[in-house]
């Protein structure tokens, strides 16, 4: 896909999204107009701003047809083939990380995530890989659970119980 095509598709998507936002407010039982003697209704701010978004997207579409934006004249590929891999892998790895956090919990996910990024993608030595695989969860535990007292997601009950051993140890010896 060229930058030119991407520019048009993006502008159309944004236009549709803006209209969707307007519809959401309009059909959401909110006053989009002026209430006499009281000023704007609850829906006025988001409704008219969404209309502005739709207008701005429409302007971009018109400028695409007239060739006014540099992007509408650019026939280079939107994402160069050599970068597709890197960017896609990074984005998908994040997606998988979020899913895994709900299933096996934050800490087991971090171990797998670091193994994937450092060893498989980065081709670093086993020493670096293992340091990152163990160091990151430890750092995260100390920073978020101990210092910030946040209970990070521990996943399904089975994995949560596995991890509770660590918490129990901590409470037994440090408090």
């Amino acid at each position: 896909m060229t930058v030119r095509t991407a520019e048009l598709i993006m502008a159309i998507v944004l236009f549709v999204m803006s209209v969707g936002l307007m519809a959401n407010v309009y059909f959401g039982d909110l006053v989009v107009g002026w209430i006499a003697g009281r000023g704007p209704g609850a829906g006025m701010w988001p409704f008219w701003l969404s209309l502005g978004m739709a207008g701005a997207s429409l302007a971009t579409i018109i400028r695409w047809f007239t060739g006014a934006t540099p992007e509408s004249r650019n026939t280079d590929p939107y994402i160069a083939s050599e970068t597709i891999f890197l960017v896609t892998v990074s984005a998908v790895s994040l997606l998988v990380m979020l899913i895994l956090m709900n299933v096996i919990g934050t800490y087991f996910t971090l171990v797998i995530y670091m193994f994937f990024f450092v060893r498989i993608l980065g081709n670093h030595s086993w020493f670096t890989t293992i340091s990152m695989m163990l160091g990151t969860p430890l750092f995260v535990y100390l920073l978020f659970e101990v210092a910030l007292t946040k209970y990070l997601p521990k996943g399904l009950p089975f994995f949560e119980e596995l991890f509770l051993v660590v918490d129990n140890l901590r409470y037994e010896y440090f408090y």
Binding site: V3, A6, M10, N24, V25, G28, L30, W34, I35, G37, R38, G39, P40, G41, A42, G43, W45, P46, L49, S50, G52, M53, A56, S57, A59, T60, R63, T69, P70, E71, Y78, I79, T83, L86, V87, S90, A91, L94, L95, L98, M101, N102, T106, L110, M114, F117, V118, L121, G122, N123, H124, M132, T136, V140, L143, A147, L148, K150, L152, P153
Partner: protein
């Protein structure tokens, strides 16, 4: 004047408290680090590390983040000079002459000039800040919701008029931020708004940090992965005390452009939405214009390194002036700081000086200390940071991603927000590739709730009469300037066309 000196004294005492002093060091180091990593800048550092600062009291937290902001301005020069890749957008202008100097084997001179110019820029701007902030805040105490709204309108108009980006795309970005800020319960009627797909999670709204970390953590990292993937060529740097002493003598070559950059940077920085990047570029341009030898710029003139470096440091302080005194951020980084202040339970704006003097003066005092700490750390640790620059992205990227995800989770305690962050981050990456500016959206999501509240408060108090904005002189002035700024691109295009037409005939 006396009250300022007394307050500043107490601020300095606050800044050198052991915990605060430690956080200044930590902040400067973190700032130098994010500043020198290509693609990452102060805004990324502040966005990613803001959740971590909930560990410490608000004053200490802002001191840490301000020191980080500061350090990043110094750090940006390191990769601009040694790699030829700006460490942050604020250091783009430093590449113009820093790179040729490094190629000529004078990287050490360029780095030294950058550090000294940054120090002078920082010092000048902090002094100006100390002098301007209290009277400006006192003046702003007269502001009602009408003036507040008009000022915010002015901030958005600056983006449109002076942002230099595609105008419909800038407008879209601002409006998107404002609309996203409206998700959740309406503050006045209490009705739920923009609850997408009937998901109850949207009732709590979309936090600004979710957007900021999505845009500046995830989106920017994806962007950086793409742009710096190519092999980088680093230049050798000679470091050593002897060299440092020797290079110190070059100061007379660039002192004039440093002064120029310092003052210009401060005032450009105070403009809402302008910030350090345009300040550095303007300073470079003016320094070249006033130079006796403009042709040597771009070929390794040391003054071409000093001018933008002085300006970006001065602007970083300058942009805090409207944030602290008016509650209107002057740059994307200060927009995130402002959001942080709201989370910490402070009310940004002119009342801050009377309600939380410890906070404000502690921050100002810390800026003096941070300036000294950073210049020393910077010069002493240049060899270390050059080694950091060689750190592969396959190590840095996962750490940043983990910090982004857990940072968002720690702020809101909801996995839902981490999903929103990922969607926003990926969307920001695709939008940025098409030249949609993302900074206005971040500014807008912070200012959105404040802008809507001030608009509706004004209209409720005037019983729905919109003339209330025009009847008050300060608000009218701001609205007129905002209108002028918004129409500036159209007028300038019209004038250019007419000039071109005249030239043809």
């Amino acid at each position: 004047m006396e009250t300022i000196i007394v307050a500043l004294g107490s601020g300095l005492v606050e800044a050198v408290q052991p915990l605060n002093l430690f956080m200044i060091f930590a902040g400067c180091l973190a700032g130098l680090f994010v500043g020198c990593m290509p693609g990452l800048g102060s805004v990324n550092g502040v966005a990613i590390l803001l959740p971590v600062t909930f560990l410490v009291p608000p004053t200490t937290a802002i001191i840490f983040l301000a020191a980080l902001y500061y350090g990043a301005m110094y750090g940006g020069a390191i990769s601009s000079i040694t790699l030829g890749i700006p460490g942050a957008s604020t250091a783009v202008a430093t590449v113009f002459d820093g790179r040729p100097m490094a190629q000529a084997g004078k990287a050490d001179k360029a780095l030294m000039a950058a550090a000294i110019a940054s120090f002078i820029g920082g010092t000048v701007s902090i002094i100006l800040f100390t002098l301007f902030a209290p009277p400006l805040a006192a003046f702003a105490l007269k502001f009602g919701p009408q003036e507040e709204f008009a000022l915010m309108l002015l901030a958005f108009a600056t983006f449109i008029g002076l942002g230099g980006d595609d105008i419909p795309k800038t407008i879209f970005s601002i409006l998107l931020g404002l609309v996203l800020a409206a998700v959740g319960f309406d503050i006045i009627s209490g009705k739920p708004r923009l609850i997408f797909f009937d998901m109850v999670e949207f009732q709590r709204g979309i936090g600004f940090l979710v957007l900021a970390i999505g845009v500046y953590g995830i989106g920017e990292m994806l962007w950086t992965l793409e742009t710096t993937k190519g092999s980088v060529q680093m230049h050798k740097v000679n470091t050593g005390w002897k060299k440092i002493k020797e290079n110190f003598k070059d100061i007379k070559l660039y002192i004039n452009s440093t002064w120029l950059g310092s003052f210009l940077g401060f005032f450009v920085g105070t403009l809402p939405a302008a910030g350090a990047t345009p300040a550095a570029l303007m300073s470079y341009g003016l320094s070249k214009t006033f130079s006796k030898d403009p042709d040597s710029y771009g070929k390794g003139n040391i003054a071409g390194v000093a001018a933008p470096e002085a300006a970006n440091n001065a602007a970083s302080t300058g942009s805090m002036l409207p944030m602290i005194t008016l509650g209107i951020p002057g740059s994307p980084t200060t927009a995130i700081l402002l959001g942080g202040m709201i989370i910490w339970g402070l009310r940004p704006g002119p009342l801050l000086f009377t309600e939380s003097p410890d906070f404000v003066w502690g921050l100002i005092g810390s800026m003096y200390v941070a300036n000294f700490v950073t210049v020393i750390l910077n010069i002493a640790l240049i060899p270390l940071f050059i080694r950091v620059l060689a750190m592969p992205f396959t190590l840095l990227t996962p750490i940043i991603f983990v910090l982004c995800v857990l940072g968002v989770f720690a702020t809101t305690d909801r996995m839902f927000d981490t999903w929103i962050m990922l969607i926003i981050g990926v969307a920001a990456y695709f939008l940025r590739k098409l030249n949609y500016p993302v900074a206005p959206a971040v500014l807008a999501i912070v200012l959105g709730p404040l802008a809507e509240r001030s608009l509706r408060q004004s209209l409720i108090s005037s019983r729905g009469d919109a003339m209330t904005f025009i009847e008050r002189p300060i608000s009218l002035t701001c609205i007129l300037i905002a209108l002028a700024l918004m129409s500036y691109p159209l007028v300038s295009r019209f004038l250019k066309r007419r000039k071109a037409a005249q030239a043809e005939t």
